[in-house]
């Protein structure tokens, strides 16, 4: 006989702990526990049987895995939290006694925790991290647009806006933006980073506010983690793209609201100043510098000489593509990671290019002052275009409005007749194309340059559709439009034919008439409505078909329909009968699947 089993010693009762029990075990406050859970990514679990997990009680509580909590108990950050608690007590005591100098020294030695080990734990490989930066990007872009307050320090907002700019710079540099969607919530972007779709939402350029029912502490804790995560991810992305991270910031330009333009992307290998950085990476990976590297360095130095006079935006990616014909020497990446998903250039070349990345490269754009510069600067530069803007939208525009190379002007105001216009201005206006902002986004989503005409200034825009709704069976609003257009075209054709063939086609006309009739009858049969029949009759009368043939056609189509229906009915009946033989469980499953299918269909047909 085995040992007696005791209640609560094994199974769900042991595997789960309630939140209160967890807090008591970790000996920290609830706020600290919450912070720890956020940082470590520990979340409650739903036990299969709640009563069993809660030792017989059915009070609604949240449960955590006991192992998760045991894992939190060894967390260095938890120790720091405890230190911080002691520090806060000491500080408040010193302040209460008016001991300013000791308070100052305490403040200087405030316990600070680092999150790098948590990042490494939560994202063991780089791909894991890239997969999970959606939320981080959304938060960083949101905080970059928040006003500072006593809870949100200016440094935090500044850091967030820098991270946002660095991300945009990287996306522009690697030309990895794929989809854009202007929604009522903000602008959705989707980029393809290491074959992972990364989607982020950026609010429109208005100051956001934190409503009262939002707990800022929670958001700030998340932001803390996200900032660290993004820092590490950017470091890796930048170094993999042979760029220096963090990119140097031009303080003057930044103060002049240059946005992305305040940063400069420095290649790691092209200048002597960055040689040390290169050596660092070389040391890290312990690899030799290959001949390929030397060649590339020389070339990039040449390019940097050219850059002074030429366009600053010739991306190294393009250069790499240009030299793709050369043999690619496979080498581990600078950081020595096993590179699970890094595509080699050859594989890239072999792949069919799904997303055209340089659709705007032949064009030069100018932003009108009412359009949002951060959005369109990012979009156009990500797809290879040049862009300028008026000084009111921020400093750093590469050219101004009277530049001769401008081909498109992105404008978002109604058309106004210009009274006083010089000849030169008029010529310039005629030479340029004035498009509304949606054109840019629709071009990106379509993957090619669309006609400017429907999007020109003052026109009512065509509907802007989501590029994300492309699963099978999705409702396509555009399809309905195209069907309508086709119908119109057909009608035109038939009219033409009728007008051109007046006398030589009596027989054929009749045939056509009957065809029309039968088709009309089909419609009537399908719709099974007396109204539809009546319409078909009228159509036949208009076509000049006598009533007998019409009747015959109707009867024929009726019969065909009935036969078809009979066969279908039999099959249906058979299926219905086969359903009898299903077991109860299968029947339920079947009904559930059918229900969801019907719901989806109803949604599409709506």
């Amino acid at each position: 006989m085995g040992r007696l089993k005791q209640k609560g010693k094994a199974g769900a009762a042991k595997a789960y702990v309630t939140r209160t029990a967890a807090v008591r075990k970790l000996q920290c406050s609830l706020a600290d526990f919450r912070r720890l859970c956020i940082l470590k990514g520990v979340f409650p679990r739903e036990p299969r049987n709640k009563r069993r997990a809660n030792k017989g009680s059915s009070v609604p509580t949240s449960f955590y895995y006991a192992k998760d909590i045991a894992y939190l108990a060894h967390e260095p950050v938890l120790k720091k939290f405890r230190e911080h608690k002691a520090f806060a007590k000491k500080l408040s005591r010193a302040l209460g006694r008016g001991e300013w100098s000791s308070a100052k020294s305490l403040e200087e030695h405030k316990p600070v925790y680092k999150l790098d080990h948590i990042i490494k734990e939560r994202y063991p490989t780089f791909i894991d991290a890239v997969r999970d930066i959606d939320d981080a990007l959304c938060m960083v872009f949101l905080f970059a647009s928040l006003p500072t307050s006593d809870r949100i320090s200016p440094e935090l907002v500044e850091n967030c806006s820098h991270l946002a700019s660095q991300w945009q710079l990287y996306v522009m540099h690697t030309r990895s933006l794929r989809k854009v969607f202007l929604s009522i919530k903000g602008v959705y972007y989707q980029a393809d980073i290491m074959d992972q779709p990364v989607t982020w939402l950026v609010p429109y350029q208005f100051t956001q506010h934190i409503p009262l029912d939002v707990d800022v502490r929670v958001m700030l804790t998340f932001l803390e983690l996200y900032q660290t995560l993004l820092g590490f991810v950017f470091y890796k992305l930048y170094t993999d793209a042979d760029l220096v991270y963090p990119p140097p910031l031009d303080k003057v330009k930044d103060d002049g609201a240059a946005g992305i333009g305040a940063f400069t992307l420095n290649e790691m290998t092209n200048t002597a100043s960055n040689l040390s950085g290169f050596q660092r990476t070389g040391k890290m990976s312990g690899q030799k510098i290959s001949g390929k590297d030397v060649r590339r360095t020389i070339e990039s130095i040449d390019n940097s000489m050219d850059e002074n006079k030429g366009d600053a935006d010739v991306s190294p990616q393009e250069q790499l593509i240009a030299e793709a014909d050369e043999d690619f020497i496979p080498q581990p990446s600078a950081t020595g990671e096993p590179t699970p998903a890094l595509p080699t250039l050859k594989s890239l070349a072999a792949l069919p290019r799904t997303a055209p990345v340089n659709i705007f490269s032949p064009y030069t754009f100018f932003l009108s002052r009412e359009t949002s510069r951060p959005i369109f600067e990012f979009l156009i530069r990500s797809f290879g275009g040049r862009i300028g803007w008026p000084a009111s939208s921020g400093s750093g525009s590469p050219f101004n409005e009277d530049d001769e190379s401008i081909t498109h002007v992105i404008i978002d105001r109604p058309v106004v007749e210009k009274m006083k216009e010089t000849e030169a201005e008029r010529n310039r206006r005629l030479r340029r194309k004035y498009v509304q902002p949606q054109w840019v986004v629709d071009c990106i989503n379509a993957g090619n340059i669309l006609l400017e005409e429907p999007y020109s200034q003052g026109k009512t825009l065509p509907a802007h559709l989501s590029p994300f709704e492309i699963y099978e069976g999705a409702y396509e609003p555009a399809a309905a439009d195209s069907v309508m257009n086709k119908q119109e075209v057909e009608e035109d054709d038939s009219e033409e034919e009728e007008s051109e063939g007046n006398e030589p086609k009596t027989g054929s006309e009749e045939q056509r008439g009957t065809e029309a009739v039968t088709s009309g009858a089909d419609v009537a049969g399908v719709l099974e409505e007396p109204g539809a029949l009546r319409i078909a009759e009228l159509a036949a009368e208009v076509a000049g078909v006598d009533y007998g043939t019409f009747e015959r056609g109707i009867a024929k189509s009726e019969k065909r329909r009935r036969e078809k229906g009979k066969v279908e009915g039999e099959e249906e009946e058979e299926e219905e009968m086969n359903k009898m033989m299903m077991s109860k469980r299968q029947k339920k499953l079947y009904e559930r699947i059918k229900y969801s299918q019907k719901k989806r269909e109803a949604e599409v047909s709506l």
């Binding site: 449960f63 490989t125 999970d132 949101l142 202007l182 929604s183 499953l589």
Partner: protein
């Protein structure tokens, strides 16, 4: 200073040129309440006067020395003094006491001033009107008098004026407002100037004493110049520790110095606010621990979220209202689609931060469940069965519909050769008709509801049995071939009646006498004991000698087994658990199936014991049939279930089917074809293909073939009985709508 000096000074004051000052002094004393600038002046004069006071004080000490001189002077100048100090003395209430040297004793003595009888006396008559004595006056508050005089007479309360008088007094007398009612005197008394002054001071939060000086100079008794203490309190010598440096402290400091030199103590720690540097965190190989599952991503936006969506996505007014009314958690979308004509008009989204926050709450507060997404084609769940068209023949269409009765047709039976059918309705009519064309040949009428009827399965004889309440009738159909008729007649009405059974039975067998018999009458009548009710079922044994009848409603156990050849009936069960619904003879073995409400039991009749109990799990069994092979049983119930039992396999059903929407009424296996049919109250008949394999390992194949519809539902009843034609795959059905249908293949 001597009193003389005083006098001098006083005279000096008097002699001072401001005689006006004196006048003022007097004025001040009389009219204290009218204080104004003059008062200030007076105060200043007082101040001056006070300034001179220390002189008086300082000279206080040597007063005694000049005692003798001053005494004479004082006596002489007493009247003068009085005059002089009059201004002071007028303030005091009591007459001043003078100290004089007695003429008699030569000692000092105190002399009170003389009392003038007219004005100064206490006993002046007009003085005190109240002579009640020292008695609290509130004792008399409710009484008309205020006390008693010395003679014991009541002293009445002085009349007080009414409100009008009081008002007039305020008008007439300007001093009324400074007067107060004196309870002792029982009259209004105007306040004196001093009293008014006190009131004023209290009102202004001053000290009520007019002579109080809040700014008196401090008198230094122990401090100040020349009064310092120069002698030490203790005479102990100064301890050494006051001037020798502490070695203990030195040790401590040395220890710290040593620690600093060795680097154990850092004099100024570097600040911890250094900026965090990012590094290549993923350069080391990943640990073998699997990465935690990534959080589910947010849904991607649909067309309806566009700033310029197609028209069909815009909500109507009704939808808007409904959306606004819904709880935010119940909404399918957290936004309302909206259309803006241009991008510049799109406002900020007010729920942006809130949405982010909700996402974060989801991330750290919501339990996550790993759910396997079902990606099954629903049609793959439907079992693949052979097509019905490959399993022909089976009845597919209604060949004939005979309208027989206006009542429900309860039962139906087909002759073993398949040409004739009989049907019985609730009114007691039995019709015999031809199956092929539906022509009615003959009709019998019985007095009562027909419970059941059935043909004898023998082919050499031809008769059928009809049950009504308490009676079984054996009837020979007309137009039989002679040979069959004679053998039937011989069987049912033998010339030599068999010997009566030894045991007397409650069931009586009665033959009709040959001369009185006609085809309209039953040839044999079996009378069941009274109160046995209407037998609902007749089950023939395969050989056609035994038949069993079951009466459900009877008070006794309603199962009887009758033997035709021996004309004998017996009740096989003395006691049975539950009411018997149905019985069936096993086609091959001497076994009997007995169905109670919920169970089916199999009895061995020869050994008289229970073989097996089947549990179909049906609430109330309505019908049952056994497969011709004898190895399978189907049981139908009023709760729409049909159970297929493999008798060898288990007590539990092999298959449970639920396809009728209402109660199953009748089941029947085809005797030769692999078919069975079920009928239900929903008016439909379901035909199944049921192939049974002789191989024990192969499961029987059940394929639904056809749903036959054509009967109407009347009074909630549909098709009450179905019977197969034994030679053809044809089906006969009796409906509650009074029709009989023949279904052919």
């Amino acid at each position: 200073m001597t009193p003389k000096h005083w006098e001098q000074q006083g005279s000096k004051r008097k002699a001072s040129p401001d005689s006006q000052n004196e006048y003022e002094d007097e004025f001040r004393l009389t009219n204290l309440e009218i204080l104004s600038e003059e008062d200030n002046q007076a105060a200043s004069s007082d101040d001056r006067w006070i300034d001179e006071l220390p002189d008086i004080n300082s000279s206080f000490g040597d007063e005694k020395t000049d005692d003798e001189q001053s005494q004479i002077d004082s006596v002489e100048g007493a009247s003068e003094d009085e005059n002089e100090n009059g201004s002071d003395q007028e303030n005091t209430i009591f007459p001043s006491i003078k100290t004089v040297v007695s003429d008699i004793t030569g000692q000092f003595k105190q002399v009170l001033p003389e009392i003038e009888p007219e004005y100064d006396s206490d006993s002046s008559i007009e003085d005190d009107p109240n002579c009640v004595g020292n008695i609290p006056l509130h004792w008399y508050d409710d009484l008309p008098h205020i006390g008693y005089n010395i003679d014991g007479k009541q002293i009445l309360r002085a009349a007080r004026g009414d409100e009008l008088d009081r008002f007039l007094a305020t008008v007439d007398d300007p001093l009324t407002w400074t007067s107060a009612f004196d309870k002792n005197a029982q009259m209004d008394k105007s306040l004196t100037a001093e009293e008014l002054d006190i009131i004023r001071r209290l009102h202004e939060n001053e000290n009520p004493d007019a002579n109080y000086d809040p700014y008196q100079p401090t008198v230094e008794w122990f401090t100040g110049k020349g009064k310092e203490e120069i002698m030490p309190l203790s005479g102990a010598p100064e301890p050494k520790r006051r001037w020798v440096p502490s070695s203990w402290e030195k040790q401590k400091v040395l220890r710290i110095v040593r620690a600093i030199r060795q680097g154990r103590i850092l004099p100024s720690k570097p600040k911890t606010t250094t900026k965090f540097e990012f590094y290549s965190i993923w350069s080391e190989p990943a640990s073998s621990v699997a990465a935690p599952l990534p959080a589910p991503k947010l849904k991607l936006p649909t067309h309806s979220e566009s700033y310029n969506p197609p028209e069909e996505y815009l909500p109507t007014k009704q939808e808007r209202k409904e959306w606004a009314k819904m709880d935010p958690e119940d909404r399918e979308q957290d936004y309302l689609p909206q259309k803006y004509s241009s991008l510049r008009l799109v406002p900020a989204y007010d729920q942006f931060t809130k949405e982010r926050f909700n996402r974060q709450l989801d991330l750290y507060l919501a339990p996550r469940v790993h759910r396997v997404k079902l990606n099954i084609d629903p049609n793959s769940l439907i079992p693949k069965l052979p097509s019905p068209s490959s399993l022909k023949p089976f009845p597919t269409y209604m060949a004939l519909k005979v309208n027989q009765s206006i009542h429900h047709i309860r039962c139906i039976s087909i002759s073993p050769d398949g040409c004739w059918a009989i049907s019985g309705d609730e009114d007691g009519f039995i019709s015999l008709w031809e199956v092929n064309i539906g022509r009615e040949i003959k009709q019998w009428k019985f007095g009562g509801k027909i419970g059941a009827l059935d043909w004898c399965p023998r082919v050499d004889v031809s008769f059928f049995v009809v049950c009504i309440e308490g009676i079984l009738f054996f009837i020979i159909p007309p137009n039989l071939p002679n040979s069959i008729f004679s053998s039937t007649y011989a069987l049912l009405a033998p010339a030599a009646s068999s010997p009566a059974p030894p045991t007397s039975s409650p069931v009586q067998w009665e033959s009709t006498s040959p001369d009185s018999w006609s085809p309209n009458k039953p040839i044999l009548t079996v009378k069941l004991p009274s109160s046995s009710g209407v037998p609902n079922q007749i089950a023939w044994h395969r050989r056609g000698d035994y038949l069993a009848t079951v009466a459900r409603e009877g008070t006794q156990s309603g199962v009887w087994i009758h033997q035709v050849t021996r004309r004998h009936s017996q009740a096989p069960f003395r006691k049975l658990k539950g009411t018997v619904q149905l019985v069936l003879f096993h086609p091959l073995k001497p076994h009997l199936f007995v169905a109670t409400q919920q169970y089916v039991r199999l009895y061995n009749l020869s050994e008289q014991k229970l073989v097996k109990t089947f549990m179909p799990g049906i609430r109330w069994i309505s019908s049952m049939d056994v497969h011709p092979s004898g190895d399978h049983l189907i049981v139908g119930g009023y709760d729409r279930k049909l159970c297929w039992f493999d008798l060898e396999l288990s007590e539990k059903p092999y298959k449970i089917l639920r396809y009728h929407t209402k109660a199953i009424r009748s089941l029947h296996f085809h005797p030769t074809y692999p078919l069975f049919a079920s009928s239900s109250d929903d008016g439909s008949i379901q035909v199944f293909h049921s192939r049974v394999y002789s191989d024990l390992m192969t499961d029987p194949l059940i394929v639904p073939l056809k749903i036959l519809r054509g009967h109407e539902i009347r009074d909630g009843l549909g098709v009450l009985q179905v019977r197969w034609n034994s030679r053809q795959p044809w089906l006969l059905s009796a409906g509650a709508d009074g029709t009989i249908s023949v279904w052919c293949s």
